[in-house]
């Protein structure tokens, strides 16, 4: 093309504008895809169970040679991860685990000090996109209380729980609680709300539930987060880790605490009760295999980056409302191929219902394996780790 030639200039101009239009069209299409018309494309793309199984098995191949992996983070995920570390079939991969809270899991993955950061909360959008939030397993959170003398489960909804944490309700026999529990005898006990002092995925889930269920909650202005601005209540306490919450609630009469479902058995053994919580369809559900499965099944589309809130589904009539994915936060680009392969193999084994997601691992802690749509997303993410 000769630019001195007017015909050449016209041709150049036309091809440039064609390229410009093409680029704009492509970007418009991709933003449209991000904005939610992915519904159509992703529904077609969910693979069958056999295809998923095949992809998983391919990813589970462990590297040769010894690799050391370190995991840190969520205390809700910890009971499972620590068992995996001992029972992982490939002995050349050594896994170190620690229960430090989702905040530490996120920061460890961000800083690169941990190979896998376990977190109940996905990273904020502003954090680098080279960090993947890979969903691994489905977990939940219950609301525990220490009110001896109650026969049955106390029903609670988001606005009552919010009032307990803001100090508006100071006693368990408050009329607002009685209204939800007609016929249930609740002895008058002062309310002691307990929250997490460290950066916690459980706080993220709890504040998500309050924000979803109560538009006037104390987290309404800033939204859910791993640390929130807890209202000034003189009887309130803060503890470190799910285990701290459990231990303190067990010795404090009148406490209300949000604890991960992997500690439900311990909580019951310590004498704590757990609430029937109001879900998106205004039914009161206890955390259990059926209710968690119903909640997770109501989410048909999982975004490609795995970040989705499963709280308070508006579609699950019998679903338990405080349900989440446990995320493994991993750098997309690993320092060496052996580490990348080891991480992918471990996480793929963790998702496999014949491997780390077998009932023997998940049932005692009330977790559930990923549904097919989430597993497809996770497999794609694992494939991109190198």
């Amino acid at each position: 093309m000769q630019l001195s030639n007017p015909a050449g200039r016209r041709l150049l101009g036309r091809s440039l504008s064609a390229a410009l239009v093409g680029t704009l069209a492509c970007s418009a299409l991709s933003t449209a895809a991000f904005a939610g018309t992915a519904k159509v494309t992703e529904a077609h793309k969910v693979p069958t169970a056999a295809q998923l199984k095949k992809s998983l098995t391919a990813l589970e191949a462990a590297p040769s040679g010894s690799v050391k992996l370190s995991e840190t983070g969520s205390s809700l995920f910890y009971p499972l991860f620590s068992v995996w570390a001992q029972r992982y079939p490939h002995s050349n991969v050594s896994i170190q685990t620690a229960s430090t809270g989702s905040g530490t899991g996120q920061s460890g993955a961000l800083a690169g000090t941990a190979s896998i950061g376990a977190s109940d909360a996905y990273l904020p959008a502003g954090d680098p996109s080279t960090l993947l939030n890979v969903p691994i397993v489905v977990s939940a959170q219950q609301i525990n209380y220490n009110v001896p003398g109650v026969k049955g489960h106390i029903k609670l909804n988001a606005s009552v729980i919010n009032s307990m944490y803001t100090g508006a309700i100071t006693n368990w026999d408050d009329p607002a609680v009685k209204k939800l529990n007609p016929g249930l005898q609740i002895p008058p006990t002062p309310v002691v709300p307990i929250h997490r002092s460290d950066g916690s995925g459980d706080t993220f889930l709890f504040s998500s539930y309050l924000a979803a269920g109560d538009p006037g909650s104390f987290v309404a202005s800033t939204g859910p987060n791993t640390t929130v601005n807890w209202p000034d209540v003189s009887s309130a306490l803060a503890e470190k880790g799910n285990t701290g919450m459990l231990q303190t609630c067990a010795v404090t009469h009148g406490c209300i605490a949000y604890i991960g479902v992997s500690y439900l058995r311990n909580a019951i053994a310590s004498g704590l009760g757990y609430a029937a919580v109001e879900n998106g369809k205004h039914n009161y559900e206890l955390p259990g295999k059926g209710s968690i499965a119903a909640e997770i099944a109501s989410y048909k589309n999982i975004p490609a980056n795995g970040t989705i809130s499963l709280i308070d589904s508006p579609k699950a009539a019998a679903g338990y409302p405080i349900v989440n994915f446990e995320y493994a936060i991993v750098q997309q680009h690993q320092p060496d191929p052996a580490t990348a392969k080891a991480i992918v193999a471990l996480l793929a084994w963790g998702m496999d219902s014949k491997g780390g997601a077998a009932p023997g691992f998940l049932l005692p802690i009330n977790f559930q394996p990923l549904p097919a749509n989430a597993e497809a997303v996770a497999i794609n993410q694992l494939k991109s780790i190198s």
């Binding site: 904020p124 502003g126 954090d127 460290d198 939204g223 309130a236 306490l237 803060a238 470190k240």
Partner: protein
């Protein structure tokens, strides 16, 4: 020439030229080597002397530069507000006045500063009388062997790591307090004892008592050493004048060690202000003003530790900078406390006959 030296000469001998002290005059090489050795030693000790100064100035400068965006964003509200709000980190960051921050981010350290000062004051009020009393008992009253044994235990206690004491506080001391001490205290008709307590025993009083347990060994050991330095002659002179032992104590020993005890108390206060893990475990970790003496609170150091990991997930980085601002505030408080104590001890020491117990 060879007279017996006078007393004055013994106390301040006349300087003698180094050459006359050596048997044979050294060669040029040896002289240069000696001079080089002098320079090396002089230079090395100069470096060692200025390193702490530069470390302190460097720490202040680095903290200040790290905290500067947070200082500009928070303004003076940092000292009057007690809200610690990271904001909506999931909604993206915006810029206000040149500082990147999440929507709704708002940091106030008033509750932290109040909590730090309150818990340290309780620790000092409870710990100082016990420590000084223990030191007096060890030096004045107990038989020498028993005093030596107990003194050894005291020194070992000073070395116990704070995490161990914190764990003891959470598992054993806190619940004990909640079952035995708090019910008794809550009957006192003063405002700070009203309002109830939680049965885990975590809160301001538990934190203050745990801090007291940590500073008692330091203050007691220092006071005991000071009391031992008091010359027996002065004690015997007071007793010979007809004073009782108590009067002699107040007239002689107390006056002698007064300045040093202030220094020891400041040492203990400095440890209490900066104590992190013990208070983090026992205080209840609630970022709020303590409603009464039993309620949960937190200190600057405990908050820095508990919030740092969550702060690093804040994409705008403002929460880490706000924690750096907290660290700066704690550093300044500690420096001010130490400077004031030095001024106090210097003023009191001007009147002392001998420099015993001064210059802490």
């Amino acid at each position: 020439m060879t007279d017996a030296p006078l007393e004055g000469e013994l106390l301040s001998p006349a300087p003698r030229a180094p050459e006359t002290a050596v048997a044979a005059p050294p060669g040029a090489f040896r002289r240069r080597a000696l001079a080089a050795g002098q320079h090396l030693l002089g230079g090395g000790s100069t470096v060692a002397a200025v390193v702490p100064l530069f470390a302190l100035l460097g720490m202040l400068a680095i903290l200040f530069s790290e905290a500067l965006p947070a200082i500009r964003y928070n303004g003076w509200g940092f000292f009057s507000s007690n809200a610690w709000v990271p904001g909506n980190t999931y909604a993206g960051s915006v810029r206000t006045g040149g500082v990147l921050h999440p929507l709704g981010a708002h940091y106030g350290a008033a509750a932290l500063i109040t909590g730090t000062i309150e818990s340290s004051v309780i620790a000092l009020v409870v710990g100082l009388p016990i420590a000084v009393g223990a030191a007096i008992l060890l030096v004045e009253r107990l038989p020498r062997r028993l005093a030596a044994g107990i003194g050894l235990c005291l020194e070992l206690l000073a070395g116990v790591p704070s995490a161990v004491i914190g764990l003891w506080g959470v598992l054993s001391f806190g619940p004990w307090l909640a079952h035995h001490l708090y019910p008794a205290l809550s009957h006192i008709p003063l405002g700070i004892f009203r309002g109830g307590y939680n049965s885990a025993g975590q809160g301001l009083l538990a934190g203050g008592l745990v801090l007291a347990a940590m500073i008692i060994p330091i203050i007691a050991a220092t006071t005991r050493d000071l009391l031992r330095q008091v010359p027996d002659v002065t004690k015997e002179g007071a007793l010979a004048l007809g004073m009782t032992e108590t009067e002699a104590f107040f007239a002689v020993q107390a006056r002698w060690v007064r300045v040093g005890v202030i220094g020891a108390a400041v040492l203990g206060l400095g440890r209490a202000l900066g104590e992190t893990i013990a208070i983090a475990l026992v205080s209840g970790s609630a970022i709020q003003y303590a409603g009464n003496i039993f309620s949960a609170m937190t200190t600057i150091a405990a908050t820095m530790v508990s919030q740092l990991d969550a702060a690093q997930a804040d994409p705008s980085g403002l929460e880490v900078k706000a924690l750096a601002e907290c660290a700066l505030v704690l550093l300044v408080i500690t420096l001010v406390v130490n400077i004031v104590a030095r001024m106090l001890t210097r003023r009191a020491a001007r009147g002392a006959a001998l420099p015993v117990g001064a210059g802490f």
